[in-house]
Each structure stands twice: as structure tokens, then as C-alpha cells.
Symmetry: C2
Subunit: 230 residues, 2 copies
Amino acid sequence: MSHSYEHPRPALAVDCVVFGLDENGLQVLLVERGVAPFKGRTALPGGFVRLDETLEEAARRELEEETGLGAKVFLEQLYTFGDLHRDPRERVVSVAYYALVKLSDHRVRAATDASAAAWFRLGDKPQLPFDHEQILRVAKARLQAKVRYQPLGFELLPPRFTLAQLQSLYEAVLEKPVDKRNFRKKILSMELLEETGEREEGVSHRAARLYRFDRKRYVALEKAGVNFEL
Amino acid sequence: MSHSYEHPRPALAVDCVVFGLDENGLQVLLVERGVAPFKGRTALPGGFVRLDETLEEAARRELEEETGLGAKVFLEQLYTFGDLHRDPRERVVSVAYYALVKLSDHRVRAATDASAAAWFRLGDKPQLPFDHEQILRVAKARLQAKVRYQPLGFELLPPRFTLAQLQSLYEAVLEKPVDKRNFRKKILSMELLEETGEREEGVSHRAARLYRFDRKRYVALEKAGVNFEL
């Protein structure tokens, strides 16, 4: 079957940058390409947009098909990449989406269709084809900018956590050490954390206080447009 | 002539939200549509992307063709709108761009092809067709968010200006009054303004000090990732 138009059209695709986070650092979800071009190369999950789905639905479908993730991931639109020669086949414009998930919730199952998908440390991944290095760079910059004015999502932390755990998540996203005293002062001054009254158990060092996020307070602050600058 | 593809493709368009600013408020540049659908209605300038131009080039070309603006305007990509029925003709995905310009530099010339283009106050414009109301809303929110963490561009101000002039620009963008004492304290603490040593002339009230932006300092602060939160 063939589809004809009066004027030539670029193909429209989506690409997904899914970051996985744990205390050890940021990772990114990549797939092995099963088709040309760049067959066998490691790349961002993605594919062409169908006429009967929105851009976000297309991103979610491709992510699900290629990695087994999908429904549970909160995707945000990142940027649309439209350089003339970003795809060797023809003109392809790609709307990129990104997400940050808790790595431990999203281990890739090796025994399914998603076996060609895997998490890669950012410093330890193959060179990506197309303009995927650029897309990944833009996604990382966006993520790092975002956590500077909005606290890291609750869903990335266990229900009760220490300030050291929270700090190491920020350090993992920002990819640099954060001054401990400043960090504690700022994060506590936001009044987003509630003391649980409990302390860590089974640790050899002095047991640290356990906190939880005050969800209501977060929503209220966000509505008021308060600055979360760290 | 006709162009055939194996799979159906959405059409790809660009739309432009150009805000014009002066002390009296924000305006937006709109055009009268010359073709169906919504012929004769007032809408955002925009049109279809050609195969041999980038997305930004397409936005700039459409802006130039429809309003006479173009080369001098710094366009930033806003968001890509892809709802299934945003265009009554067929599936059209639109990459939206936005810009903020100094209104007095961009008066629309009534005697040219741009005669169907005009500036409209946001509170005083016709209802826009397609999803252009949504695009405009997203653009305004982005602009307001942006001036909260980045100073308004130099190009919007005369070379020497008073703090009252600067404050009224912020109030125009934010669409709300700004506390004078806080504003002055914060803007001066950024050390972005230099006193010229001169004062206003020809005013009936007490002549205010004239400032200029310290461009080098601005670039240095921006590189350091400093927060401009107002």
C-alpha cells in the first residue's frame, strides 16, 4: 500500500531517553537496533509515529515494544530534533521524550523480548548513532536544570530515608559532589521533609534520622511557585 | 506532482508565538488567515515545514512571509503539539517556537504584505482557531517561568534605564505587580546593573538614577549557573 501527498513530507519519529537512578549514579536505557540503518548498534529506543496516536502515545508504545517499560514511566517531552541529515535514510524529524525512574523498579528482564534492552552507565556506553548523543546530552542538561528548581520526585526514594541518601541522589543526578552543610540547610529550609522520629537500624556508624516527604506541603509550595533552588 | 510513502505520515508544521513588550504590557503578533481552514480568522503565524529546511528555518521563513519579521527575532523552540484533531483537515503535528521582542522595534508596517499582521494585547484579542489558544498559553507560561530564573534580555531595554522602567517590564511579563523594595534589593544584589552616574532628565518627579546592564558580568554569572530568581 502507498500513501500519496501533494507535497513531500518528513517522516515523524519519537525517541525516548529514560534515565535510571540509584545511589551509584545515573544510567540510561538503550536498545540494540534490530533493523537498518545502524543494525546491531546500541541506540535510544524509538520509532515512527502512527496517524492514530499522539506523540506521547507513540513514545510510550515504542518504549514498551523495545524495552518492556512503558505504562509506569512518566514521560515528558524534551525537544524536537529536525536537522536535515540526522537520519541517513531520509528526512526524519524526531520528537524526544525523557523520564527519570528508580532503577531498582525497572530492572530489564533478560528472558523477554526486551533482552536487547539494557541499562548503561553514562560514562560507560557505546557511541550512539544518528544524533542520539546530542539528544542524550540535551536530556541530561534538562534533567540537571530541573532538579535545581524542583525537588527530585518522591518516587525515587524509599518511603523513609536519611539526608545522606537524599544527598547522594542529588549528587548522582548533578554528577558532582554537593556541599553537605549547604545541602542540609537548604533542603530542611524548604520544610518539605518531615522527621519520622525514627533512626536507621543495623548500621555500624551513628544511626541517622529518617525523614519522609511531606507531599501536601510539596503540592502547596509548587502551586505558590516557590523556588527549590539547591 | 504527488509524493508517495509506504506508511501514512502526519503533516509537519511550525507555529510562532512572538511576544512584544513595552512598559504597558505584553502583546502577541497575530495574522489574518488568507486560506482555509479558518480563512479570515486571526491566528498564530505558521505553516508547513519543507524538506530542505530545519524546523527553526521553517519558523523564521513563515514569520517573515506572514508578518515581515524574521531575521532579527531570536526564536526558541517551545513545544511540539500533536493532538489527533488539532487541525480539521488531517493530522498535523506542529513544532511551536516563541520569542520576546521589544515592541517599539517591531511595529508592523501597514502598507506591506504584512498588513494582515498586527499586535494584539493578550486580554484584547479574538479567540484563536486550531489549538492556538493552548499554544499561546504554554508560551506565556514558559516566558513567565523563564524570567524567574534568567534576567530579561538587554535588548528589551534602552541602553540606560531606571529601576522603575526595569520593574515595569517585569510586571508586564509576569502580569502582576512586583514589590518595589524586594525587586530593587534582588536586582541590585545580582550585581548585573552598573550605575551610570547619571539621572533622568526632563521629569517632573525626583530624577531617578540611570543604570546600564553589565553584559560581561551577565555572561559570567550565566556560565556559573547562578540563580536569578526574582
